[in-house]
Symmetry: C2
Subunit: 467 residues, 2 copies
Amino acid sequence: MKPDEAVAALAAIVGTEHVVTDPAQLAPNLSDWRGRYHGRALCKVSPADTAQVAAVVRLCAAADLKLVPQGGNTGLCGGAIPAGPDQVLISLGRLRRIRAITADTITVEAGCTLAEVQQAARAAGKLFPLSLAAEGTASIGGNLATNAGGVQVLRYGNARELCLGLEVVLADGRVWDGLRALRKDNTGYDLKQLFIGSEGTLGIITAAVLKLFPAAKSRVTAWVAVCDPAAAVALLDRLRAQCDERVTAFELIGRTALDLVLAHIPDSREPLAGRPAWSVLCELSDSSSEAGLEGCVEQVLADALADGEVLDATLAASAAQAAAFWRLRETIPEAQRIEGPSIKHDIAVPVASIAAFLARCDAALQAAFPGLRIACFGHIGDGNLHYNPSQPAKAANEALMADAEAVHRIVYDLVHAFDGSISAEHGVGQLRRAEIVRYKSPVEIELMRVVKQALDPANRLNPGKVV
Amino acid sequence: MKPDEAVAALAAIVGTEHVVTDPAQLAPNLSDWRGRYHGRALCKVSPADTAQVAAVVRLCAAADLKLVPQGGNTGLCGGAIPAGPDQVLISLGRLRRIRAITADTITVEAGCTLAEVQQAARAAGKLFPLSLAAEGTASIGGNLATNAGGVQVLRYGNARELCLGLEVVLADGRVWDGLRALRKDNTGYDLKQLFIGSEGTLGIITAAVLKLFPAAKSRVTAWVAVCDPAAAVALLDRLRAQCDERVTAFELIGRTALDLVLAHIPDSREPLAGRPAWSVLCELSDSSSEAGLEGCVEQVLADALADGEVLDATLAASAAQAAAFWRLRETIPEAQRIEGPSIKHDIAVPVASIAAFLARCDAALQAAFPGLRIACFGHIGDGNLHYNPSQPAKAANEALMADAEAVHRIVYDLVHAFDGSISAEHGVGQLRRAEIVRYKSPVEIELMRVVKQALDPANRLNPGKVV
């Protein structure tokens, strides 16, 4: 089948208006939002439902075309960007129905944005806890395909833990209906686990059953100055020992990251005096309106203050103040962007090793690149930090960017030495594909390839990504 | 290699005293504890560590022998029973070290009993929440291989959710070291998910990193009479709305099951008068000693009583009374055994469908087998019930047992109609292997076979189980 015949055949499946070949119209789908990748594709096709997705996959198989699934295109590793004239970009954006909602589950189609899923849960008086900066654009299908994380993983888990069932179009166009709404099912291999986090390389997720939780009726948000990352981890242990799983979010924010926000984001104001080197933003929530959370948090903070782990702390007095605290955290990426380039890392180490890792890594980078500053912030309760070095001066920073490979090597070698992960929540995509081969054992890479070969023997799905 | 040469070669790897061929000595390992399966094996071999497990697997590959891994041999579906003279039973019982413990993880070898893991966590002031009747004998490796459930899944999840990393010996004898202690790691396919719940058919789990939680410092245990299963589910919703994730266990116990305990278990006494048709045993716990749990539970029960959902309720006044409540629940299987045979089911349906399912299934069974009584009990918060019919009279019961297939068909057809699971927590093993083919889609069975073929192409690991 010639390319234009294939485009016509795709149009016959989804309707002419849902196939795009015009370069100008295609452009937004061919670049990632950080602007790091600029790809190519035969066309973009937007099926309306699962049956059309399956028909598109079968057509591509017959025409020997590759398929690159794309949701909201908010990924950070180039995982949804096609890279050749034999690749069809398949957008899930029209699969947008909320199919069902019960007291403890919601069944959604892949193209729903995360915010739409959250909103549907809220409208039913429930909570869908996955939450991340791109939630207004990111699709739930993409969240599942990349096993998205975010600020409430500490309590509720990644996308993987929030998923009970999946519907998936396989590489040969068959549909696997695994849309089960069961808390327990031990009737064989848990196949959904293969597709979650595999970035569209093993199948195309078209719908999912997700867990719902009781909505929070009380909430405490605290901004805390701590002396160092070890003190932050100790504070987390104290909070859990006294407030149990009500600790919903626990974010570490280093001085450099906070200073960038204060410098670049209008109306940002530091909640505490004294310019502490490290701050913690933590939130606790409970399904009861009379949970006594505030008293519990105040007691823990008073104890930690008395023991010298905490330097100062303040509880948000209103929802508006809590939102202002969160804005300081959530605008860090934007503040970094305004300041100029930096070298991004999304790493994890065991929680117990965070302090030791940071001490070693900071020292190693400073030795190699004197004067470096490191924006360090993130989900310390999960052992996951965003760790982004740059040079304050423009020329020095340009030199640093040219030496990004050397910076990566120092950081990733140490992450590896601490039994950590070089991609804690952003995935592999194109960006980290060579890196994982460097750090994973040959046995593990071979196992991944065996799985890929078994589920997609023709390498039709998202080629060049992950493995 | 002749059989006796293989036995000698295995003895050279693990030591002569760790290879058993004597039939009398082998017998306990060749029968499951319900006495349903009586298998055969060339020998039992007990390696001391992961390297010896790997060497045994390589030897078996060279000798064209099959391998059947066995932990505590407490499985209920014959998954650990070998079935032929070309099968080597590999016992993990000597891999028994607690390798490491941190504030939030524990690294254990597969042969540790679940109780030993719980105890090691407790000694460190933490909680490992997996808990089930066989915990004194069941091994953690077996728990992971079968994705074990139990009474605290509601809050903490199955074995799968409690596992951060695995070490696995593959079908060709290579070792996959996936012993990561990370809360987040998106560097490719999450391979541990393949091995968890695959009942030893894809690899042999030799060690695991597990999550630890804050220990409970306060606890409320309540026995509640409810009018029907729908009222039990409504009570669970109320408790979660007021007490959030502190609802740790929520068990439903039907009249028939409770009567069997009262008849057969010495010193058992019903906590409430009035012989309610359904009882709920629920437990809430918190890491703080001042959690106000009791007031919270009392308020919820008072509201539910006022609304007619709850008929009567009592809180355990002491740890001894709480233990007595739990004994009523935990001795149901023993009471059933004393009473005589019954037809066992371990099923799940979506929580929202439980009441409708039970009404339909009870009626269908009564229509087909008049006079039947059904011991129904289990983890209603997970949608998971043990549902075991028998006939009160001996002769009628013998006739029923002969007709077990017809009973299964009624129950499983309805489970299937309600999008449920015919094996919620016990797994597949030999017992449900034909059943899953009946109820799963051909696509799903084919996917399972593709995965099996990819990871164990020679069908060397636990042949005849699961798929």
